[in-house]
């Protein structure tokens, strides 16, 4: 690891911590309905929205109504997004006349954006019109994030209220998350990104006359679009000269700002955040990586404020930070080792002046190894899933880092809202485990943890591995599943494992060699995303409802303090044990065996 790499990691996390507290404080005010400057601007909009939709924000909901409202809103969003993709050919703002998206792909993509996963089985610039990107993708980037934040706030209220049957009003939590938190931040970040060169225009794709024309062999086809074969049965090609460069454009900055802030991750372009129009400079890369972690980190502080003890929030934040910071060096080390298989080609892989070194396949030069690896860890720790380098081309251990971060259950910062509510489940398990050790009734923040809470918590940590490993096994044991694999050997298995790990945790990043745009992967992946989002969110709300009904009991001498370094260690232990015990065998079959084969 170079000095500069250490410096770049430190700068990111110092800036993150400095911003987490003020933003966390502001968000707590928003959810507690206390006014702040932005009320003047957005207050009338907020009240008009309630009036038009017949919502009385002061009407509190019990957990079931809260869940029903959340589900109905998401179903409506899904149907709208599906319809929009199917009809985009007939709608305006479609400068290159892209046709309707195929049904299985439209299903997968709609689920993907509604569940805050943003798995991309499509290629942005070749599949989606500007209209679909704006009215569909950008909107769900906001509201799927707001949904996660609302569910989290309901859970926090469940923890902080005593003998209450209600958890707040879903509509008001969702609207306030969007209006007062996501929108202003997104406006700020998108303008900063445009300053670095991210495109933001409604003009059609730009034609350019490059310095040098490109000659290449184009696959020949007969009038029925069937490939023409030569005598040996190979595809026949004819020489073609390309003397134009078509620069794909679009309203990208506005979508990219919210795709990072809302831990969505679906790219405007196919290459996602590796594309120079999405992420043009090292500074834009820094801003986007910061935006990914910003809200999840700040929510820890919001949580602390709302339960009346900021140390509780910092303890959780510390556990997340330690988990992430301990995995980044492994990734950096793995990607800066020589690939022994390239040595015979006489390739210089040293890290030296003027050369960032090592595994540059799939990485952008402006980011080099450091910003690429840092991003791969950040984007999989938070359930963002945007990529600034192709993870499939990482060295085996370099690829293991993002894979394992997702397998921890997306609780290391995780998705906005969903990461922290996932982590609170792990806290409950940690409290329970330590309660067993000392033989006392476990309690957390003055709430007794009883069989019902443990059932919900156990349900939550069991569902994810079952979908991830179950679908991986299904894909790997069928010809349909295997036929999508690009890379031979254990890497091929890793591609499939990564795909379901990513979708089963609502992350959305990919080992993109896998040809995922097939009916099999679109449908199974869509199911994995649906289950992991809603079969988690609903038990969380049930848990919140049950906790809210309990009395708050003052801490006694037998209460385990949950704001100490000891508890942070315990919490990390529980997350790693559950993740590692569940997934180590599958990791051994993929990246670990590949590493052993590569270095012989």
């Amino acid at each position: 690891m170079t000095m500069n790499a250490i410096l770049q990691v430190l700068v990111l996390f110092i800036v993150l911590l400095a911003l987490a507290k003020p933003l966390g404080w502001y968000m707590a005010r928003v959810y507690e309905g206390k006014p702040f400057v932005l009320d003047r601007l957005f207050g009338p909009v907020e009240r008009a929205m309630y009036r038009l939709s017949g919502v009385r924000p002061a009407d509190e909901m019990n957990w079931k109504s809260y869940a029903v409202a959340m589900l109905l809103f998401n179903v409506a969003g899904f149907l709208f997004l599906y319809g929009l993709q199917r009809l985009q050919g007939l709608l305006p703002l479609n400068p290159v006349n892209l046709g309707a998206v195929a049904p299985d792909l439209a299903f997968n993509t709609a689920v993907s954006f509604v569940t805050n996963t943003n798995w991309q089985a499509y290629g942005g610039e070749t599949t989606l019109s500007y209209m679909t990107q704006m009215l569909g993708m950008t909107v769900q980037n906001f509201v799927s994030a707001a949904t996660g934040m609302s569910v989290l706030v309901a859970l926090i209220r469940g923890l902080s209220r005593s003998t209450s049957t209600t958890l707040g009003n879903f509509w008001s939590d969702m609207v306030r998350s969007t209006l007062y938190i996501l929108l202003p931040l997104a406006l700020l970040v998108s303008v900063l990104l445009v300053s670095q060169g991210v495109v933001q225009t409604l003009r059609p794709y730009q034609m350019a006359m490059p310095l040098q024309a490109i000659g290449y062999g184009k696959a020949m086809a007969d009038p029925n679009s069937q490939g023409v074969l030569d005598e040996q049965g190979n595809q026949k090609t004819g020489p073609v000269v390309v003397s134009e460069q078509v620069l794909a454009m679009g309203p990208a900055a506005s979508q990219i700002a919210i795709k990072q802030l809302g831990t969505n991750g679906g790219g405007f372009f196919n290459a996602n955040s590796a594309h120079p129009y999405e992420n043009p400079t090292p500074l834009s890369n820094f801003l986007e990586a910061l935006a990914i972690l910003l809200i999840p980190a700040a929510l820890c502080y919001t949580f602390g404020l709302m339960v009346g003890d900021t140390r509780q929030g910092w303890a959780i934040c510390a556990a997340m930070m330690i988990l992430l910071l301990s995995l980044i060096p492994l990734g950096l080390w793995a990607e800066q080792r020589d690939n022994p298989l390239l040595a015979p080609a006489g390739v210089d892989q040293q890290v030296e002046a003027g050369l960032s070194g090592e595994n540059m396949e799939g990485k952008e030069l402006r980011f080099g190894i450091t910003q690429s690896v840092l991003w791969s860890a950040v984007t999989t720790a938070a359930s963002n899933g945007s990529v600034n380098s192709t993870h499939d081309s990482y060295s085996p251990l370099g690829g293991l880092v993002p894979l394992f971060l997702m397998q921890c259950g997306e609780v290391v910062f995780g998705g906005v809202g969903s990461g922290l509510y996932g982590m609170i489940v792990f806290v409950i398990i940690a409290v329970f485990v330590s309660g067993l050790m000392v033989g006392r009734t476990p309690e957390y923040l003055g709430k007794k943890i009883e069989p019902y809470e443990m059932k919900m918590a156990a349900l939550l940590i069991l569902i994810m591995p079952i979908i991830v490993l179950g679908f991986t096994a299904l894909a790997i044991s069928t010809d349909t599943g295997r036929s999508s694999i690009l890379n031979p050997g254990p890497q091929g298995f890793s591609e499939v494992l990564y795909a379901y790990t990513s979708q089963g945790n609502n992350n959305g990043s990919a080992f993109a060699g896998l040809a995922a745009n097939t009916p099999f992967y679109n449908l199974t992946g869509g199911l994995a995303m649906l289950i992991s989002r809603f079969w988690l969110a609903i038990p969380i709300l049930a848990l919140a409802g049950s906790l809210a009904r309990k009395k708050l009991v003052p801490p006694g001498p037998g209460t385990l303090p949950t704001d100490t370094p000891l508890f942070v260690v315990l919490l990390i232990g529980v997350v790693v044990m559950v993740g590692a015990l569940t997934f180590l065998p599958s990791l051994a079959l993929g990246p670990i065996v590949e590493e052993l084969m590569m270095r012989g």
């Binding site: 500069n4 017949g54 409506a76 980037n141 929108l183 454009m249 506005s254 298989l341 390739v347 060699g513």
Partner: protein, 190 residues
């Protein structure tokens, strides 16, 4: 459940208008006012014609130009309407073979240059549109370009140095050379 149906539909409609229309159009407006060039793709115009973008790489294989990194876009390299990487894994024989072949082409274009080939010059980028090469890769190609253009290597070194960008703010990213801008500067020397 029924009483939640109206808010669900109305809220979706209102938020679609707000975040799907008002928000992107506001950003577009702000972008046009404050950063009009960047918003429209940082294009380079010469003699009234758009010849490319500062941010998007172009393909070069003529010996008198500096070459960009390999590109895995389909169906031809540096296709800026279909970005993407090779996704080849580190042990994939196809990757090893491609790297060997690219190194061989570079050596054949400059016989007698026995410097090791910098790794970025034989590996494709994630976007397939990487506008940069490392300073080491630019230095590696100086001999060839100088010979074909009959220029002094020292002049070329100066030119490369002028086009080398350091880390942004001194810390972020990597030092790099923009290939298109460097080649443009070469052409404009004549």
């Amino acid at each position: 459940m029924k009483d939640q149906l109206r808010p669900a539909l109305t809220m979706l409609l209102l938020l679609t208008v707000l975040t799907g229309l008002v928000y992107p159009l506001t950003v577009t407006g702000l972008a046009q006012v404050f950063f009009p060039d960047q918003a429209k793709g940082s294009v380079i115009v010469r003699e009234g014609k758009v010849i490319g973008s500062k941010l998007i790489g172009q393909y070069f294989d003529k010996p008198e130009y500096f070459w960009s990194r390999p590109s895995a876009t389909s169906p031809f390299p540096y296709n800026a309407a279909a970005s993407g990487g090779s996704n080849l894994g580190p042990t994939n024989p196809a990757l090893i073979a491609a790297v060997k072949a690219r190194a061989a082409v570079l050596r054949a274009a400059d016989p007698g240059n026995d410097l090791p080939v910098p790794v970025d010059l034989v590996t494709s980028s994630g976007s397939g549109l990487d506008p940069h090469i490392s300073p080491a890769s630019a230095l590696y190609q100086i001999r060839r370009v100088a010979r074909v253009r009959k220029l002094d290597e020292a002049v070329m070194r100066d030119l490369v140095a002028q086009h080398t960008q350091g880390r942004q703010l001194g810390v972020l990213g990597e030092p790099r050379v923009n290939v298109l801008l460097l080649n443009l500067a070469l052409d404009e020397r004549r």
